[in-house]
């Protein structure tokens, strides 16, 4: 008798476990992109002037539903991504490959919608990039312009040394181009969301919520964003020609670069990056980035260059500036030869500290 009771209990337990696990598998489908609770569209700014953030909490449901519907119309859903009317540039298969790769490798930091708020994000410093304002730091185009897809792919390949973004350079296992295309889609989607929130906030009247957005204005916003990205290829900064220097020429160039680095009329790099290039300049605590986080100037003596450490990478950072950060572009202020001198100086910095220490330890 006891045996039978035991067996019954066992069966009961098993069925409870089985039933509850069935219940767990039924999850709400991720159908549409949600509307963010708040949205900041500011640029890098002084820390004393906090960036303006628009809260969607007070938006009537009608507007939110409209924004959601517009996002779905132009970009599909996280499961079925597309860019309306750009089937050639964004083939379905490419986006699906990109979507799968993104979910496999990127989602836990950058979040399912590319809002930089995945499960691991709170533990990281710097925070993972939030693609929603369409700003990318390490690219070949000037501040305010979009990156090319090649720029995005390069960051995925080499990683951002000095941050938690590792290199994903196993091209035979992963289609980095497809991933870059998907990242572009997420950025475009996020920017449209931001534009529409901005539009609702500025153009619509809270007293008359039923009026809603004008579809023509929505499509105009979408076209604007699309044209931003289409312009990227033509906006690529022209890199001035130079030669690889050695010996005395190199030393002279480095010395000249150092002078420009400190020249307040020219580079004025020292105001943030400090005289030693260690990021200890007088303005070091004065800025936030476009994502609202306080941003310190880079310590250039560590040899950690987030956008890559080739001379051309550093040239681009100086000439084009770094979008979303207070680092301006110097293409207008300095000639290409002058920029190259600064590049040589900056690349040389990582060895200066070591040699100084060597000298000190040698003298003991």
């Amino acid at each position: 008798m006891t045996h039978r009771r035991g067996r019954l209990t066992f069966l009961l337990c098993i069925s409870i476990v089985a039933l509850s696990s069935c219940g767990l598998t039924v999850q709400p489908a991720l159908v549409v992109y949600p509307v963010s609770e708040e949205f900041g569209l500011a640029n890098a700014s002084k820390i004393t002037e906090p960036q303006q953030v628009i809260s969607t909490a007070e938006f009537p449901e009608v507007w939110k539903a409209q924004i959601q519907a517009a996002l779905q119309m132009y970009f599909g859903s996280p499961d079925v991504p597309f860019v309306l009317g750009s089937g050639e540039e964004f083939p379905t298969q490419t986006l699906r490959t990109g979507r799968d790769l993104f979910r496999e490798h990127c989602v836990h930091c950058h979040g399912l919608y590319g809002d930089g708020d995945g499960p691991t994000a709170p533990f990281l410093n710097p925070r993972p990039r939030d693609f929603r304002n369409g700003k990318f730091k390490f690219k070949s185009t000037p501040v305010g312009k979009k990156p090319t897809q090649e720029d995005i792919a390069r960051v995925i390949r080499i990683g951002a040394h000095g941050t938690m973004m590792p290199s994903f350079d196993l091209p035979w296992e992963m289609d980095v181009e497809a991933l870059a295309a998907y990242v572009q889609l997420l950025a475009m989607r996020g920017e449209l969301e931001g534009f529409l929130i901005m539009y609702c906030h500025e153009e619509l009247d809270l007293e008359e919520p039923d009026e809603g957005m004008d579809p023509d204005d929505v499509s105009e916003n979408f076209d604007t964003i699309q044209s931003f990205w289409e312009d990227a290829e033509d906006a690529v900064v022209k890199v001035g020609a130079t030669e690889t220097l050695t010996g005395k020429d190199l030393e002279e160039s480095i010395a000249h670069g150092k002078k420009l680095f400190g020249d307040t009329a020219k580079g004025n790099c020292v105001s943030c990056h400090g005289v030693k290039g260690d990021g200890e300049g007088p303005d070091k605590d004065n800025y936030t980035d476009a994502w609202g986080e306080p941003l310190k100037p880079r310590n250039l003596t560590l040899g950690l260059f987030r956008g890559g450490d080739r001379p051309v990478d550093i040239y681009l950072r100086i000439a084009a500036g770094i979008d979303g950060s207070p680092m301006p572009g110097y293409a207008g202020t300095m000639t290409s030869d002058e920029i190259w001198d600064v590049v040589r100086f900056v690349r040389h910095l990582r060895y200066t500290q070591a040699t100084d220490e060597d000298k000190e330890s040698g003298s003991h």
Partner: protein
């Protein structure tokens, strides 16, 4: 009846060791054994492994045999008579301890040479360094990638002519390689299965790892992290690229040939598929059908093999396996010092 059932249980006990031994015997046949050894001295570690496996294997078989024998013979005998329990027996205890110590001591003594060769500056390693035959490469593990530094012409790490890379460890074949292993954050483990190398990377320590690729092998093999180091542990995957001593490998030509082979095999398969629908129901239809199935299986096998070879060759080509290590370093240096956007 009860008695017989007890004997049956002892046979179940016998099945476990028999199954275990059988797995080890057939493992190499099914590819469940070691990955291919492409290192010059990895066989020494394999020998060490085989030695320990033999010792533990013999001990396993003997103890299991005794266990099964005792259970089989004494089960179900004389009810109501308890087994005798010996509390202490100095002879057995000392004997057991001495036996185990001797075995451990033998293992410890045998492995000293291998350990020294891989971790320390023994004479052989020193000589290789002095003769500038050895290559020193810095490997810095971080969450979640391998940052690799090659010394430039001056042979020193940490100077302006260093060549930097990530996740791809390029080495020459037939020359000793000294890895200076460090970690910037947490414990990682530098694991090269095909070179029989596995070494923890410890933050704050620089650990030497010596190994050497076999003289006749060029290609790429896995570099993985063997210490759970965080969420991205799975993606701390790189490759070791072994470059040939002379640039004799015609990878581009090989790839073209393999591409042609893939096309030929695909066509052959398509033709066979068409034939199958044409087969009529004559007398020898069954025999024909059987032959066709065989042909088709063979064609499919050829196609799969050709495709695999092609993928491998293309990857090798992408990694520059057809270049010598020196040429590759020059190219990498040029790419690192790029002053134009391609």
């Amino acid at each position: 009846m009860r008695n017989k059932l007890d004997k049956l249980w002892s046979l179940l006990f016998l099945a476990v060791p028999v199954y275990c031994v059988w797995i080890f015997v057939v493992a190499p046949q099914y590819g469940w054994w070691f990955p291919e050894d492409v290192s010059a001295k990895g066989f020494e570690l394999d020998k060490l492994f085989m030695m320990i496996l033999t010792i533990t294997g013999i001990a396993f078989v003997i103890t299991q045999a005794i266990l099964v024998y005792v259970v089989f013979v004494y089960s179900g005998r004389v009810r109501g008579h308890k087994a005798q329990f010996i509390h202490t027996h100095h002879g057995i205890e000392v004997g057991g301890a001495v036996l185990v110590s001797v075995i451990l001591l033998i293992v410890a003594l045998v492995q000293i040479g291998d350990w020294e060769k891989r971790k320390y500056w023994n004479d052989e390693n020193q000589a290789a360094l002095a003769a500038e035959n050895a290559v020193t490469i810095g490997v810095e593990a971080r969450q979640f990638e391998w940052r690799i530094t090659y010394p430039g012409k001056d042979g020193q790490l940490g100077t302006p002519d260093d060549i930097r890379g990530v996740n791809k460890l390029h080495i020459p074949n037939d020359r000793p390689v000294l890895i200076k292993l460090t970690s910037t954050d947490v414990l990682h483990s530098f694991f090269l299965p095909n070179f029989r190398v596995k070494q923890d990377a410890v933050p704050g320590m620089e650990i030497n790892v010596w190994f050497q690729a076999k003289g006749d092998r060029a290609g790429h093999w896995d570099l993985v992290c063997a210490e759970l180091c965080g969420w991205g542990h799975y993606k701390m995957k790189g490759v070791v690229v072994v470059h040939p001593t002379t640039p004799s490998i015609e990878l581009a030509g090989q790839a073209a040939l393999l591409e042609a082979a893939v096309i030929t095999h695909t066509e052959a398969l398509a033709e066979l598929n068409e034939t199958s629908s044409d087969l009529d129901s004559g007398d020898d239809a069954a025999a024909q059908r059987q032959k066709l199935e065989q042909d088709r299986a063979a064609a499919l096998k050829n196609l799969t093999a050709a495709k695999q070879d092609l993928a491998l060759t293309e990857t090798n080509l992408r990694l520059g396996v057809d270049k010598t290590w020196e040429t590759w370093l020059e190219d990498a240096w040029a790419a690192q010092e790029a002053t134009t956007l391609e």
